[in-house]
Point group: C2
Chain length 276, copies 2
């Protein structure tokens, strides 16, 4: 099954645009979990158990697992295996290398961790991404405009009046021959998100930057979704998974996830009623 | 000790600008090694044993280890521990994320694998790199102009009238407050390497792209080194480590490494005699 279909199925079944970022940090999880054999996996397991009916995807960021070495990566592998089959897993890896080497990264992400999607960095150009694009049923989310301040250093610079992030969006559109590309656009740049969505009607857009980074939620839903109110994958990490540091952390995460899902759906309804 | 000092020490002691890329691929190493308990580590060990007096650095590319999952990363960790203390290890990881997450990557690279240097992708801008720059004695090699064809997609575009790779070089120069930045410039772009070296006199430049990618060796030495004939780290991977697929593979690697070292030194001498 193509990624976009898998995403739509999960999103429709759970009536959700919400993606939960599994950025699990041993210094932030409830202290009592540290006695467990694999605290990272135990934490993720509890979160997944109580949220998998509320999300359209999960997005573990590889950095958090690599930071704990071999043990961290074992926890990631267990987590990917534990996530219910019908929920897409997007590994936030921001990879990109020259062709020969990117092939090995693609093998790691798609064969070893069995992720459905991955985030990639465009700086090395087409041949750096093409080994990922050979996986027809997976999705390559290319960084277009990131949610952080540093986005201004290069991504917002202009070539003949056109900012680099738009050039990236155009290129990715042209690389989407197998229907397996997506973009990453930060919620902190609402106006630009609108312009990008207009350029790529049928690409899924992964949108980090609400929550701790304070992206506007209503505008994110309004500008990030396609004309059917779909294909936006709106990520929240810290705000959900660290909602409580007590025994009830997973229940608290569920409540936060529910709130966000309802809010996104309220905005979806509002947008569609305003612009029929 | 600062990275640049460690690099100069190794480079002077071994009279070498050569960096060997440990891109160890189970499909390419001699078949008889596959019976070993950890074939990747056994291969690297043999290569290191016979080349550590010929190099200024080793550069394992993380992709090749991640592709083999947990086992691959164990092999990488063992390899990093095995490399003699006086030889700098540059982990070719091409990482880059937003600040909060980059901190975890920096932890993985510098604390977990204990690398001396790392390659980073500039697309996310300053706050994505700053957690790496906090490690004063390590070196962050930022991708400037890569050796592959895809470099033309974005890196060679002129933004605000100047090619993106030059904007990156200028930014990295301005971020080099602790003397712990470097650049990655492909040998396949000799003229641009010259321009970049003129811009950043005191930064180490990591130069892939000779060998399989056919970058010009003489021009690489001429343009990549600083005025003392130093600070160029010229990488060769496949041409050295796969010089033979027989029992004598490490000996063959040594011969290739020796040849390259001598060639680089010949060009160093020639350049200095021409331009006293």
């Amino acid at each position: 099954m193509k990624f976009v279909q898998k995403l739509k199925n999960a999103s429709q079944k759970n009536n959700s645009l919400l993606c939960i970022g599994l950025d699990t940090d041993l210094e932030k999880i409830p202290k009592f979990l540290l006695q467990e054999k694999d605290p990272i996996f135990s934490f993720n397991q509890a979160i997944i158990d109580l949220t998998s009916d509320l999300v359209c995807a999960y997005k573990p960021n590889l950095a958090f697992y690599e930071a704990y070495g071999i043990k961290g990566l074992e926890a990631l592998k267990n987590t990917c295996e534990y996530i219910p089959e019908e929920i897409p897993i997007i590994l936030d890896a921001k990879r990109g290398d020259i062709g020969n080497t990117s092939k090995m990264y693609a093998k790691a992400i798609f064969d070893e961790f069995k992720a459905d999607g991955v985030t990639l960095n465009p700086y090395l150009g087409e041949d750096g991404l093409s080994p990922f694009l050979e996986y027809e049923d997976k999705c390559s989310f290319v960084l277009c405009l990131t949610s952080n301040l540093g986005a201004k250093d290069f991504q917002l610079l202009k070539l003949e009046g056109k900012p680099l992030y738009k050039i990236v969006a155009e290129k990715v559109k042209s690389w989407n021959k197998k229907g397996n590309c997506g973009l990453v656009v930060g919620a902190t740049y609402a106006e630009q998100l609108k312009q990008i969505r207009e350029m790529v009607q049928d690409l899924p857009i992964l949108i980090p930057g609400i929550g701790a980074q304070k992206g506007d939620m209503e505008l994110t839903v309004k500008y990030g979704t396609d004309k059917h109110g779909e294909l936006a994958i709106i990520n929240s990490s810290r705000g959900i998974i660290y909602a409580s540091s007590d025994k009830d952390f997973a229940k608290a995460a569920r409540e936060e996830a529910k709130k966000l899902r309802e809010l996104f759906n309220l905005y979806r309804k509002k947008v569609r009623n305003l612009d029929p």
